[in-house]
Amino acid sequence: MCLAVPGQIVQRHGDVAQVDFQGTRLEVSLVLTPEADSGGWVLVHAGFAISELTESDARKTWDYLREAGIDGAQGGET
């Protein structure tokens, strides 16, 4: 599915980064968002950041996902 969830970049190492999804950390590729950097917020789909976000927009989306009971760090879907 085409759901992407926001996360915060903890630390960038080259094209990959540790990204925090409200407590769950996953390795995410930043190859599609070359300007994203540590501390920034990104929208992540299937292990790839597809867009940068502002913190306020990221938090709004998180609030919705939490209300809807969607686990933001879930993956493994198209």
Binding site: M1, C2, A4, S29, V31, G47, F48, A68, G75, T78
Partner: protein
């Protein structure tokens, strides 16, 4: 956004629809929208003359049976590991499913990201990892990135079964067949992150149907519907974007360049819709080594959809799930017959899970 904060948009939507003297049909193209509409009870908030129909926006559902069958056949080959996103595993093919192949000893692994499949290949020299490249523009750039990386690092035991698709040509095809009346499109949020809001311009120019990009929260969906209906009321048709937090007019240029580097635009077969020109992504000759169809010399079968299954019509909005004779009785999420019941975002699965009483087919009378 709480339900009370939705009230002003809902009121405006009701007032706008009250000024229109006929039914307005909006197609939500994305499976994630479909699920959000059900989960949040959006239909119960809509005026009676505003009708929502689901479109070809569930990646697994639109994948032609020939690709499903090819994936299942590849899983049976010796020395192969099939890596896939989870929602492909239970889709029934002509010869079982990936799940049943796995029960019979095939190595089928669910991965979170194609990157995991590439890592698997880099550490596993004896076997070939075949990744099932299913999904729209949101997912395809990740596949392109992995193929480019495999090429650069010479990870030769990795390849992809290519079945990625472009959404806009399918939307155009739906309008061109004129089988389903569509007055406007609620456009997919995360596909649009990649392709950009301006990608819907051909729909507006050629068919004069408004297209509005929206996110997945209830407020976004209602805002998108309001923009569509307001355009319809004044006879306008333009592209609007209410999801500016993530979607730009031009999309994600890095992702689009990567797609262009690895894939060339081709025709593609869609379930129930046949061949749609310019809707496919074929791996370019430079990267042909990573094309599973070429590597295993696979000729795709003709499509033989499950008997009685109407998924091909459901994804075009031609029939509602409960009009299918199999729905809810022979075909359920536990024992799915067609892909729209398998995928968590399939229209049939959504209607089965959230459909209001009275919308399911009545049980067969006792004999």
């Amino acid at each position: 956004m709480t339900s009370s904060s939705l009230e002003p948009i809902r009121t405006e939507l009701a007032q706008c629809c009250a000024r229109i003297d006929r039914e307005v049909t909006i197609m939500e193209v994305c499976g994630t929208h479909t699920m959000s509409i059900f989960r949040n009870g959006i239909r119960t908030l809509l005026p009676p003359n505003l009708r929502l129909i689901s479109g070809p926006g569930c990646p697994v559902c639109v994948t032609a049976q020939r690709h499903i069958d090819a994936a299942i056949d590849i899983a049976a080959l010796p020395g192969v590991i099939v890596a896939t996103y989870g929602d492909m595993v239970r889709v029934p093919g002509r010869r079982g499913s990936l799940e049943s192949r796995r029960a019979n000893g095939a190595d089928v692994r669910v991965v979170y990201s194609i990157h995991d499949a590439l890592k698997l290949a880099a550490g596993e020299h004896e076997r070939t990892i075949v990744f099932l490249g299913v999904g729209f523009e949101t997912t395809a750039p990740a596949t392109a990135a992995a193929i480019r990386e495999a090429y650069a690092r010479r990870i030769d035991n990795f390849c992809v079964l290519p079945a990625h698709k472009w959404v806009v040509p399918a939307m155009l095809a739906l309008l061109e067949t004129r089988d389903v009346p569509i007055d406007g499109f609620l456009c997919p949020g995360h596909v649009s992150v990649i392709i950009g809001a301006q990608a819907y311009q051909p729909i507006v120019e050629r068919h004069h149907r408004p297209c509005v990009v929206a996110g997945f929260e209830p407020g976004q969906i209602l805002q998108g519907l309001l923009s569509l209906v307001a355009q319809f009321e004044r006879g306008g048709s333009a592209v609007d974007n209410v999801y500016e937090a993530a979607v730009k007019d031009e999309g994600n240029p890095t992702a689009l360049m990567l797609l262009d580097e690895v894939f060339e635009v081709s025709s593609a077969v869609w379930r129930g819709m046949g061949v749609i020109p310019q809707s496919g992504m074929e791996i370019r000759p430079k990267y042909a080594h990573f094309d599973a169809l070429k590597r295993f010399e696979i000729t795709l079968d003709v499509d033989e959809d499950p008997a009685g299954c109407l998924c091909g019509q459901v994804i075009q909005g031609k029939v509602m799930p409960q009009e299918c004779r199999l729905f809810g009785e022979d075909c359920t999420p536990l024992r799915p017959i067609g892909p729209c019941m398998v995928s968590s975002e399939g229209t049939c699965a959504a209607w089965f899970k959230y459909g209001r009483p009275g919308t399911r087919r009545a049980s067969k009378p006792p004999t």
